[in-house]
Every structure is written in C-alpha cells, then in structure tokens.
Symmetry: C2
Subunit: 421 residues, 2 copies
C-alpha cells in the first residue's frame, strides 16, 4: 500500500512549527508494516494545495492530509479538495448538528466563521471529531482514498487512532499481497557510524530480506534492521537471525534496543548489581545528573550529584585536597580521581564518577586545550581509573561526549564485573 | 524566488526522527523575505529521490536537499542527482584531499566507504564542510540551483550559515522586485499563549504592515513580529513602532529577543548586579545547573550546584537540619527554604535557589500530589521566599516548569532590586 502525507499551513514552511504530526503517523503506520512514501508540506496557498492533492492522489493508495480545516480565513483545504475532485462544497446537516451540540455544551452558538466547518466536498464522508469542532473528512480522489484531519496534534491523534488507522488496517488485512515487516533498532555508543557500516556491509548478502539503516544521534549511533517478507513469521525469523549476528558483532557497544534510553540502561544495570552512584561534575555542569534523574525511579540508585564549578566547592563538597588543586590544577588526572573518590565517599555509594575539563570556548592550556576532559571512576576493590579524552566541536558537543564517555566507563565496568564469576 | 526543500532518509518517513533541519532553514529564509514553497520528505529509495529532485527543480529557483551524503550504503543522494542530471559521478581530487586531511588529523586514513564521499556529479561544485567529512555540493538542474547538504544538524547548520544562505542572499540582492522584511522574536515566560494572543489582537489594526505570530517553546512563549515593506527602512520603522507597544504590554514577562537564551539572560542579569549564584536541586536533578552551565562563561557567576536526591545529602551538602526533614518531609516549604539558605551558605554566594517536589510518575501525597514543587530563593537582606507550584503533565514537563519557575523567581527579584534606587 502506497501512503503519502500532505501537511498544510504557513506555519509549517516558515519555521514557526516543526511538523510532529507526520512523525507520529509515520511511526504508527510503520508498526502496521507500511512505510510512508512521501511527506509534502505546503503553505496556505490554494493552487499549491490543490496541485499537491492531485499529485499525491495520482501516486498513492492513501493520502492523509492535515491542517486547514478550521474556522479562519486561512483554512481552505476542503475547498482545494473539492476543486481537485471537480465537485462543489456543500453544507452537511450532520456536521451542522455536531457543531451546534458542541457549542451548546459551552452555552454558545456557533458564529458564522465556525459554521464554515460544516461545508464539505459533495460525496465525502464526514466523521465526528471527539476533541474539536472540525470533522474528519474521508473522500475518494482518482484511485486514492483521502483522509482530511485537523492539524491540532490532540485532534489529529484522536481521529487517527479512532478512525484512520483502523480503516487502513482493515484495508491492509483484506489485501493478499501485503508485505509484513519486523523492525529492530540497535543502539550503540563508542563506535563511529562509518565503522558500524563497514562491520555490517558483509552481512548484507547473507540476509537478503533485511534492509540495514544507520542513524547518528550523537553521542549514539543506531543500526536499524528491517525485515520484509510475505508473512509476519517469516519477517520475524529473518529479523531474529540478523539480530543475533549483529549482537555478536557489536558486543558491549550495544547498550539497548528500540526505545531504550542510555540513562535508563545504566540505571537498570546499577540496580541489577545492587549498586548506587554519585557523580561530581565540573565541565558537564549537572548534565550527567540531569540525564540520570530524568528517568523515573532513578532515586533508588542515584544518590547525589555535586556540580563543583569552583575550586572551593571541589574541596568543600567532594574533598579534593587544596594542594592537589594547587599542584595539578582543577583540570587534571589527579583532580578527577580525587573528585570521583570524594563524591563516592561523601554520598556513601558503591560507585563515584567525575568529570573535569575545558568545554570551551574559553580556557584550556597548551597541554590540555579546549575539548580536553578527564573522566574518572572510583569503584570498590580496584584502583580509581581516569581517562583523558579530546572532543572536537563546540561547548555543547564537548559536554555531551564527556558525559557519555564517563557513564560508559561505569557501564563497561559493571558489564565486566557481572561477567566475572 | 521560489525555494523548495527536499529531505531524504528512511528515518524521516518512518517516525524515527522529526525533521528539524527544515524548520531551521525555513525560519532563516523567512528572515530574508523568502517563504519556502514546499518541503518534501522521501525515504532512501533511489527512484523516489531522483523523481523528487526532478520535480522540485522543474518548479523552483533554488532547491536545498539534505541527507544521504554520508559514507554508508544508504547514502546515495548524489547518485540520484547525477542520474537526474544525466551526468556521471566522478571522484573529486579536492574532496579527496579534504577527506585525507580530516582523517589524518585524527591519525587515521579514510576507509573505502569514507572515500565514497569524494564522488560528486560531474560539473558540480563541492565546498568543504568545516564540521564533517561530506562536502556541500552545488549544482544546476534545469533552471534551478541545487544545494546538497549533510543531514547531521550541526553540519547542516554550519554549511547553511557559511555558504548556502550567503549565496541565496546575494542572488536576492541582485533582484529588483524584492520584498523587504524586518523581524523580531519577543521571548516571554509566565504568560500563556492564548493570553498573549488576546493581548496582541487589538494591536493588529494599528499596525497593518505587521504579521503577528506565536510560538510555544515550553516553558516559554514567543511572539513573532514581522514587518513587510518595499524598502528596508520602512520595514524597520514599522517593526520598531510595534515593538515599543509590545514591550510596554509584556513588561518583565519579556526576558529577551531573537536568539537570546533564558539561561544566558539570567546569568547576564546576575553579572550586571555583581552577584553570584548556587543551586540545590532535588526533583529537577541538575537541570537548572545544566541549563546555566551550558552558557559559555557561566563559571564567573555560577559557583556550585548540589543535586541532593537523598535526605542524607540534603543535610551533608546543603545543611538541611535532620529534624526539619523528619518533621516536614523532604518535599516541603521548610526543606526548600533550608536548601536555598544552605546552598547559599555552603558556596558563599549572593543568592541561593532550591527546588524540591514530586516530578512523578511515582510519589506524592494527598496534600502534595505528583506535580507539586516547592521553589525557594535565599537573597541578602530579605527573608527567604518559597513558592509552591502545581505542574500538570509528565516527569519531563514537571522538571522543566519547576526549573523555569525557580530561575524566574531569581530574575524577577533581580529586576525589582535593580529598579529600586
């Protein structure tokens, strides 16, 4: 089934709003085994909308259109649809009833501009909107079925889930030639995209039913696996086979699948180990603590975080000896190690992590230029370990990769510890 | 000038990624007086990309294409461009040099898949990418000028700002029929979008040359003012007139304009007051510290942040008396006030801020359900002030609005203090 989306509205082509309705719908369709072929965004320009409707209807089996159904002067998507189909707009008695009921519920009656919403193309099917005034409108154009939805995300989603997706699913189920898909996202850290690609390339010929894809979501790289087959069980089996190989190849660089977040995985690994964590941050300034505490239930394992932006607080909160700071400076292996040990001590946790470095744009020394970060892990029964990394890019990027590297030191340590009998 | 955007990538049509590159580019072009006519998103399907390129080039003067320039097997946008133009792909010696230099800087040499990035359509102009390996490629197709950019947002933006927009601006400047625009974004906190809309509505008739727009970027709401005229000076004058009125109407709810970030404004207000700040966070878990330290130079005024997720650390780091915790619990006015005073004391700063609350989904009490947050400000010469807020929504939203409310208590205090003679 060929599906296209058409989104209308000046706000979508002038940078005012990012179109998230499409993302939502694409994901829901993909779950049904349908990959959207094309998404088109046009402004509130009648000939552009009419033309885009005709083009989409000429290519696709289903076109989902959003926006321009409301009461205001720049809402004219249905006029364009009527023109594209060569039919007039007509007031629909049922939609008129719905409008009156909806306004009456608030003690009002619809004003003339609201009544415009009762005008739909002749021969189309209006469907009541549980969340708003403008109805869903279903109509045929050429060989395509068109669904017109309001652009307001809450209304868009309600009509999509309640009406549009069930109808698409029913059509799919009735088709003999349906393609079944199975999908897995493998999430990695610490492996560059081109390396990932090189490692995966030789697997292609062995897995002809798999489409491999790559996505960079710094500091993570994701490998997308999609199996296509003529039955769900074949698609599932093909996916399972390639997933096993990929897991072997990625090893511990693979941290999670599908929607699992890195922070949630780290916290879960700690929880399974019965361990707790504290963090002392200088250049990342609370980023690590914030990432961890964004996960519900993190308070079970995350005990405390010290954002120690001054030398004084490095000593006061996490016990870095003033002479270490004086001899080695705040950005040094010695300070990082003292911070990791000190925060672990102060919070009485199993593990302590620390970060200190030059995030830029100012600061740095000839030996440790901007982008240099010292990351340390204090763990029971082993010497404190510090790693020095050099991150290119701006302040945000340095902080992001420094946070990731530091947490990854802990995750790898936990994995190694749990692997040792 | 007719401009269209074409974004390629399976991740854009399967719901994995929301296309924010387009939003960014649309806004930048709009500043130049150009409204994008159409945005098209297609998956990694060669005939679809080739077809979409041909269609866009047949309609537009300029087509900006993003995605599919990288080293992996699903990167083939330039192959499609070559096919659409009827020319071969050829290895470009200069791009090859850039690749070798880039890899050499990291002590590596490019692998075979990276070398694919040196192959560009015959007759096209490659431009060096300061942020990545894949170059910008400029070429003609029919009457249109095509710009091919990597989809990675950092690289996309760098090449857009450094190369694409200056070239488009130069072309625009050479045209006689140009519309001039002037633009201001007024950034507010603490005023709902519908209230903003109501306040602005009566201004419309007095300012016929102004297009008013609204943008919600939680927890902020932005008012967009755009003046259109046939000369730049007229546009500037119309904008200045409406801006004065808006500033009066918004008062201190207006915190900044255009690209000013809230955190940067708070830090600058502190700096001007010669003041310093420390923060103790419970439910926001480092979010406030992270927002502030993301701003370059924040270390001048931000001294320390304590993420005190346990009762023990609330006492140890910011001196909350154990009996306050025992009597009033960790989520209470008394604890919030003790945290703000304690962190100010520990860090020796002018101001201390604190947050404690139930971010959810777990936790809460009948009196203080999930979404209840206590925010406190300790300042010199006045009693510590605590405000209790109730935020609806999920964990992320509670944390976001709690952080914003807390910082806003400080900003309003600073504004009031600087207004008093």
């Amino acid at each position: 089934m060929r599906v296209e989306l058409l989104c209308t509205g000046d706000e979508l082509v002038t940078g005012l709003i990012t179109d998230t309705n499409s993302t939502y719908l694409e994901a829901r369709l993909f779950d049904l085994g349908v990959k959207v072929e094309r998404v088109v965004l046009v402004g509130d320009v009648r000939p552009d909308i009419t033309q885009a409707l005709k083009e989409a209807a000429s290519r696709a089996d289903v076109v989902v259109v959003s926006g321009g159904l409301g009461p205001t002067a720049d809402d004219f998507t249905l006029e364009c649809a009527a023109e594209a189909a060569g039919v007039p707009l007509e007031e629909d008695a049922q939609v008129l009833d719905w409008l009156h009921l909806r306004y009456a519920a608030r003690g009002l009656s619809p004003n003339p501009s609201a009544l415009r919403m009762a005008r739909v193309p002749r021969g189309s099917e209006p469907v009541r909107n549980p969340e708003g005034s403008a109805p869903l409108v279903v109509m045929k154009l050429g060989g395509a079925q068109l669904f017109f939805l309001p652009g307001v995300p809450r209304e868009f989603k309600a009509l999509l889930e309640g009406e549009v997706l069930p109808r698409i699913r029913a059509t799919l189920d009735a088709r003999p030639e349906r393609t079944y898909r199975a999908f897995r996202l493998l999430r990695t850290v610490g492996i560059p995209e081109s390396e990932l690609d090189m490692a995966v390339a030789p697997m292609g010929p062995r897995h002809p039913r798999i489409v491999f894809g790559f996505r960079t979501h710094a500091p993570e790289n994701h490998l997308k696996l999609m199996a296509e087959a003529s039955s769900q069980s074949e698609a599932d089996a093909a996916l399972a086979a390639v997933e096993v190989e990929c897991r072997q190849m990625l090893g511990t660089k693979l941290f999670g699948v599908d929607s699992e977040s890195y922070a949630a995985v780290v916290l879960e690994t700690l929880r399974r180990a019965g361990a707790t964590l504290a963090v002392a941050e200088s250049c990342t300034g609370g980023l690590i603590a914030q990432q961890l505490t964004a996960v519900p239930g993190s308070s079970e394992v995350f005990i405390g975080g010290a954002v120690v932006y001054s030398e004084k607080m490095k000593s006061a909160w996490v016990g870095v000896p003033p002479d270490v700071l004086a001899r080695h400076t705040a950005v040094s292996r010695e300070t990082a190690e003292a911070m990791a040990e000190g925060v672990r001590d102060a919070c009485g946790t199993t593990y302590g992590l620390s970060v200190t470095g030059y995030a830029g744009p100012g600061g740095g020394t000839p030996e440790d230029p901007v982008g240099t970060v010292y990351c340390a892990l204090s763990a029971p029964g082993v010497p404190t370990r510090c790693e020095r990394i050099s991150v290119t890019g701006d302040r945000d990027r340095v902080r992001l990769f420094a946070a990731s590297h530091t947490l990854e030191m802990l995750r790898q340590h936990l994995l190694a510890a749990s692997a040792t009998p």
